[in-house]
Each structure stands twice: as C-alpha cells, then as structure tokens.
C-alpha cells in the first residue's frame, strides 16, 4: 500500500433516512494508511457515514468508492447492537472474525487456532475462552470485539465510538491496537467524542455536523471557531424542507 493511494473516496455523497440527509454533500478522499477521527455533535451523521462506507446504507446521492471490495472492511458498530444474552462463548465470538477467510462452512485449521489465541492474548482475554459472552463486563466485551477485528485482518477498519463507557486502562490497551494498525499501514477511521484523545493520537480529523465543517490536519480542524460552527449547525430540523438542488458530481 503506497501512502499516496486512496482507500475511500467520497463523490458529493449524501446519506440519509427517507429523503432527509444525515450526511450532506461530503466530498473528498481518505488516503490509504491514514488514521482519521470523525468528530461532531450527536446527530451529526457520524455513524451514518460509517454505515455508508460499509455499504449497509446506500447513498441518497453521489458515490462512495472503495479501493478493493467491501469485504476488506472491518466494522465495529456501537456497542449496544449485540445480543449479549445469546449463549455464545468468547472464543466463538472472536473466531467469527475469520469469516471472510473460512466463510459459511470452512473449517478452522490449527494455524487459525494459533491466530485466535494470539488475538485473545493481544486484548488480554486469555483464560476467558469458555466464558459465555453474557458474563462479560462492557470493557471485556469491547476487548473481545477488538480481538475479532484483529482476526478480520482488514486493510480498512471502522470504529464507531469504540471507547464510550470504557474505563481508562481498557481504553489505553485498545488504543495500542489502534496504533499498531496504523503502523501496519491499515486505514483506520474512528468516531470519537474525546477531543483530547483525538488531538493526541489521530493526525487527521473530519469534523462533521451533517454538512462537513472541516477536514484535514487535526490541529487545524479542531479550532474553537470550527467547533462552535459545528455545534450550531446540527439542530435544525425543518419539516417543510425544500428539495436540495446542489448538483451531485
């Protein structure tokens, strides 16, 4: 992967629900290998943007182009969306990360078992293999999901609020993995709320409030003026909104 190639390209993308845009006219590139934060108030379209990239939500307008296929994306949605009461062991949950490789019926070879153990070790869950996922704490569950991401071995990794309601120790451990992915030249896009963390660790930032507010070097994007602008933009919901006539690409 050369650092100049593009991992994800947005051509005047509008994403939304019904006909109402949640992400409005986003245009630009995410270079391969970048470590990018997506920041903005609640309802700004951050999660919607990730759904658009994964392909579970089709753009209302414009186009999202991926280098490689959608199966090259590993996606961690917000924590609440998993049925934790389901009788499944930590090991089996993590092993699902091998799906793209083993598919519907492929077996799990000895080499894969080693990889699963390595992934569990990397997130500090050795000894948890046989535990049902219903017994995990929020932080342990997030560690297990990161282990699954490790196994997916994808060139593009999307994280939706991965550290919300997670304690400092776990956050630090998981951030190490994020750095490791960055060092391995993977593209990482994370939706985050902790601006200090973004400034410390993420070189690139997209500030969004339905419309993109600013996109580029984190230091410049997170200026007080931009943040204020973002806060003002998002609340408007107009029940009589007109049809948008801005041209798509």
């Amino acid at each position: 992967m050369s650092s100049t190639s593009t991992a994800i390209r947005f051509d005047e993308v509008t994403l939304g629900y019904g006909r109402r845009p949640a992400v409005h006219h986003l245009d630009g590139d995410i270079p391969a290998g970048s470590l990018m934060a997506v920041v903005g108030p609640n309802g700004a379209g951050k999660s919607t943007l990730l759904k658009g990239i994964v392909g579970t939500l089709k753009p209302l307008d414009g186009q999202i182009r991926l280098k490689g296929s959608a199966s090259g994306i590993a996606y961690l949605p917000q924590a609440a969306e998993i049925d934790r009461s389901f009788p499944l062991s930590v090991y089996d949950l993590v092993a699902m990360g091998l799906w793209t490789q083993s598919g519907l019926f492929g077996g799990i070879a000895r080499r894969d078992r080693t990889r699963i153990e390595e992934a569990l070790a990397a997130v500090g869950l050795i000894g948890f293999e046989r535990r049902p996922i219903s017994t995990l704490s929020g932080g342990q569950m997030q560690r297990a999901l990161f282990a699954r991401l490790l196994l997916q071995d994808a060139p593009v990794i999307l994280l939706d609020e991965p550290f919300t309601a997670i304690d400092a120790k776990t956050t630090a451990d998981l951030l190490d993995l994020v750095r490791r992915w960055h060092d391995e030249a993977r593209t990482v896009v994370a939706v985050l709320h902790d601006l200090d963390m973004v400034r410390r660790i993420f070189p690139q930032t997209l500030l969004i409030a339905r419309e993109p507010v600013a996109w580029g070097e984190t230091g410049e994007v997170l200026s007080p003026e931009n943040l204020l602008k973002a806060r003002r933009m998002v609340e408007a919901y107009d029940p009589h909104a007109d049809v948008c006539h801005r041209s798509a690409a």
């Binding site: 996606y75 499944l88 949950l93």
Partner: protein, 288 residues
C-alpha cells in the same frame, strides 16, 4: 414391570409407527425449536402453526384426508402468512408480533370454517389434534424426509443462523448470507410444522418444537448441547406420552404434549442453568 414399557410397542404395529413418527418429529423439531427460541421467535412458531390450517383445509376440501393435498396446502399457507406478516411489519407501523397475531387468528377461523364446509366434527378433530396413532407409510416417509432435510440444512446454515441472532450487523458487514438464511429457516419452520401437523394436528404441532427447546435452555448454555437435549426431550416425551395414552386410554397427541410439558416444568424447577430451585437456594457466594 418392564412389560409396561415394552409390550405395547412389541405387540401393536400402530404403536411402533407412532413411535417412529414422533422420533422423526423430535429430530427435526428439536433443533428448529432451539433456534426459534434463541431468535425470540417462539410465538412466531405458534402463529405459523395456526397459519398452516387454512391451506391444509383447502387441500382437505379438494381431496379429502389426502396426505399430498394437505401437505402442499399447508406449506403454501405457511409460507404466505410468514411472508405477509414480514411485509406488514416491515412496511407499516405494526410490529411483527401484532401482525402475526392478526394473521394467525384469521387463519384459524378461516381454516375451521373451510373444514366444516365439508367434513364432520371427527374430521375437524383430526385436523386440529392430529392422528398420531394412524400414521401410514407415506406419512412416516414424509416425516423422516422432513427431519433429514432439516438436520442437513441446519448443519449448512449453522454459522449464519447463530451470527444473525448475536450480531446481525457484523454478519451484514462480512456476508450477504443473512436474508437467504432467514428465509430458508422460515421454510424449515413451516416444513416441520406441516410434518408435525399430520401427527399432532395444527394446534399441538408446535408443542413438539417449543416445549423441548424451552426445557433445553435450563440444562445448557451451549447451542449444540441445547439441540441435543431438545431432541432427547422430544423423544422421551413421545415415548412416555404414547405409553401414557395406551395404558390410561388418553388421546395420544395431548398425552405426548403433556409429557413434554411435564419435562419442561421439571426443567424449569431443577435445571442447572437458572432453574427455580437453584435460584431460590444458590448457596453461599464464592471467593471470585
């Protein structure tokens, strides 16, 4: 003493056939029931069992108590109601449980009306509660084929079925198997209900699915183990239900379901995974 358990099956062919029939039903229905329960679709199973009735009734109207006519009719009606309920819940404000309730009430009323158009009350009882003691060769073959197909299909679909329950978003992000898996699974449910319908009737067929499955949840938190327990519970209740009906001269179908119900209540009380007795007297808390 052993004679009580053995003789009825050794001496009477209809008892042998009934036993083979319920074993076949348990083999297919047990695992399907476990997945229905894990997918929180237990009531969906119940509703679909009722939904089969008008289809089977139309078959009956056209061809009398004919196996192929009632089977095909039942399959059609089951699939139509499953799809219709899915569409209504997806495109209107009504949730799936409400739309299923509406459809199954309609189906039950329609089915009973259609059967009464032509038949006697005996036929109506036959359709509602089945004839497990009068299974002929072709019906047994049908039951055996259904359970074989079910077990094979579940083996193939196991991963996406599990994943679609736990983490549907992840499944969607790695594979397109989710929707076809769900549809095939609904097909399996309908098939097993139609099979169970011939032996136990439209009202009790779902009992051989849900009672063993619900009982199995109290013995294991491992899906494979739950399916095995569920099958075993089905077979044991079939066996003991038939004996009960033979010795006490009870109707066979209800006796089988009552046996399954007894095992369920026992599991509810004693089951190692969250049974009531263990909840009431858990013992003193542990070190860690």
């Amino acid at each position: 003493m052993l004679d009580l358990f053995y003789t009825p099956f050794a001496e009477f062919e209809f008892m042998q056939r009934a036993l083979v029939g319920v074993i076949a039903i348990a083999l297919g229905g047990g695992p399907v029931g476990v997945f229905l329960m894990l997918r929180r679709m237990s009531l969906t199973g119940d509703a679909m069992a009722h939904a089969i009735l008008p289809g089977a009734a139309v078959g009956y109207l056209l061809a009398g108590l004919s196996l192929p006519a009632m089977t095909i009719g039942g399959l059609f009606a089951g699939v139509i109601v499953a799809v219709a309920a899915g569409l209504v819940s997806r495109f209107t404000a009504l949730k799936e449980d409400a739309s299923l309730a509406a459809f199954y009430l309609l189906s039950l009323a329609l089915g009973v009306t259609i059967v009464s158009l032509r038949g006697s009350n005996v036929d109506l009882l036959h359709v509602l509660f089945g004839t497990v003691l009068a299974l002929d060769d072709s019906t047994l073959l049908l039951l055996a084929s259904i359970s074989t197909m079910t077990v094979l299909a579940l083996a193939v679909l196991y991963r996406p079925l599990v994943l679609e329950c736990v983490d549907p978003i992840f499944l969607r992000s790695v594979s397109r198997a989710g929707t076809p898996t769900h549809l095939i699974f609904l097909g399996l449910v309908v098939m097993n209900l139609v099979g169970g319908f011939h032996a136990l009737g439209t009202l009790l067929a779902v009992g051989m699915m849900m009672l063993p499955a619900a009982a199995s949840r109290f013995w294991s938190s491992d899906i494979t183990m739950m399916m095995i327990v569920s099958i075993a519970v089905g077979i044991v209740s079939g066996f003991s239900g038939l004996l009960l009906s033979f010795h006490a001269e009870l109707p066979a179908g209800p006796a089988i379901i009552l046996s399954a119900g007894a095992i369920y209540v026992m599991s509810l009380l004693l089951g190692r995974e969250g049974g009531l007795l263990w909840l009431a007297w858990p013992g003193r808390h542990l070190e860690a």
